[in-house]
Symmetry: D3
Subunit: 113 residues, 6 copies
């Protein structure tokens, strides 16, 4: 699941950037820069990106930020506290996305054992 | 489709609850209690849950409430009146979810013949 | 609040319809027809319209359906059960709209005493 | 992907219309009429339908309007300018839908070579 | 209404930019560039920005793009065709925003007579 | 602005709780508990609540979490990094809410000088 997601994401992003639309390239660039260390740590920023993706219910965005949060050593206990806030603020419609998120997280952990 | 949905849902919900985050457990508990008979019947509450899921465009939530509505003896004619309101209030972006909802409903009916 | 809302709504709807865009007129017409008695009662349909407006967080739509629900003799106890489902499914972001909804409902009740 | 999407869409729409709910039939009818040539060209209206589907993040709606835009001779360069606005207004949560949109567009172009 | 909106918008945008967050400045800059003439005309892009704002139901964004569309000589007849698509795709929850949009548009026209 | 918001919020919440709907009371209770110190600090949780409210575009929720973040000693520089992520993920439709958020934040700071 992790590999399939990353491969598709990389392949299609390359196609999008190859079209050479300057504004899209700038937006993608900004997307990278905004999550860089600043007054807030990368880990905090990735948690913010993750919960935003959860309440907006974008499974692919959730997967992307789960990968980044995993890199930043987010613990499963911390993840569940993010889940709790996301399900509370965004409501029970976030639950199906939480199920998929946990499935992906479990695979991330297994892959990195 | 029905069995696959229910199995995945049950399996992942168990994993989520196993993590023992108290606030998530409370939210899940509240989710069960809120749909219980009160001043409104369970059938009415499930219709309310269904249309909320439709206008918020959550396929898995729609499936869940379709199953519950079917248990409460909702008729296909009543279902289409819910579809009509959901497509009107939520707009034509609800149509693809209506297609999937009807497909699932048809399977629910076939399974229970 | 009730009178001001209804006056503005009526005045602007008349302006919109006066522009004579056929598709908009048809949509407005459909809006009226969809809530008419069918397999479901008008009261049930108005509850469905209300909760859809709540989870989609449209204050003016909420007010409109509160007015209709009041005409259909919805009780305050029933209303709170709708609130409970809306706040659960749509999450705590629905709370501010619930506050405004209750304020409007209280005025509807006072006006009709 | 194109054929599969169109077949499923046609088959389920026929089922929905077969249920003979008058308000749903009117809404589907209105859906057809609203995109007809008027003060705005069909091409402009389809671009408006496409971007609405993108910012509301409805993959099936995006596919439908991509097919229509392709019929109206939208160029890939124009498409990317729509993508740029959609990703800007709707945010980076629109990116995964842009990836799928481009994949579908590429298939539309290949099929029509 | 027009002057008040523009004044507040200008004043607060200046405050936001004064904070000197580089990523926000880049996003604002991108916002300006994305609507510039390209394969699509400024008028078409502004119509795309307007309908996106309508289906996402952001009154201030609608006002901003109405002002731009007015500069680009959008006619009232064209505007109503955009309204029709927005109300169809986004559903009747867009109607209250359409009322406010028309009110603002009328003031734009009166101011420019 | 701060006092008016808090007074209205308190007054209406009391009215809602006075209705004695058990499920709503539980949800409100859960709302309080979910933001308590756990594996994540209160400050981190409030940042998560704030950005969720921003991307979901709920001005009253934003105000509530701004107040909490201010209590937790969030700096203006940190706040702008949250703004940057919210505007990026949620798109430019978040900008009008960012303007209002900054206005409220400025008042919070002035009041506490």
């Amino acid at each position: 699941m992790v590999k399939e997601f990353n491969d598709y994401r990389t392949r299609m992003n390359e196609k999008i950037l190859a079209a050479d639309n300057l504004n899209i390239k700038r937006l993608y660039n900004l997307d990278t820069n905004t999550y860089k260390e600043g007054a807030l740590t990368v880990k905090t920023k990735e948690m913010l990106g993750l919960i935003s993706s959860m309440v907006l219910r974008c499974d692919d965005c959730i997967r992307y930020h789960l990968g980044k949060c995993h890199n930043e050593k987010l613990t499963t206990e911390e993840l569940f506290e993010i889940f709790a806030i996301a399900n509370l603020v965004g409501g029970t419609i976030v639950i199906p996305h939480t199920r998929k998120a946990l499935e992906y997280w479990d695979e991330l952990i297994t892959l990195n054992k």
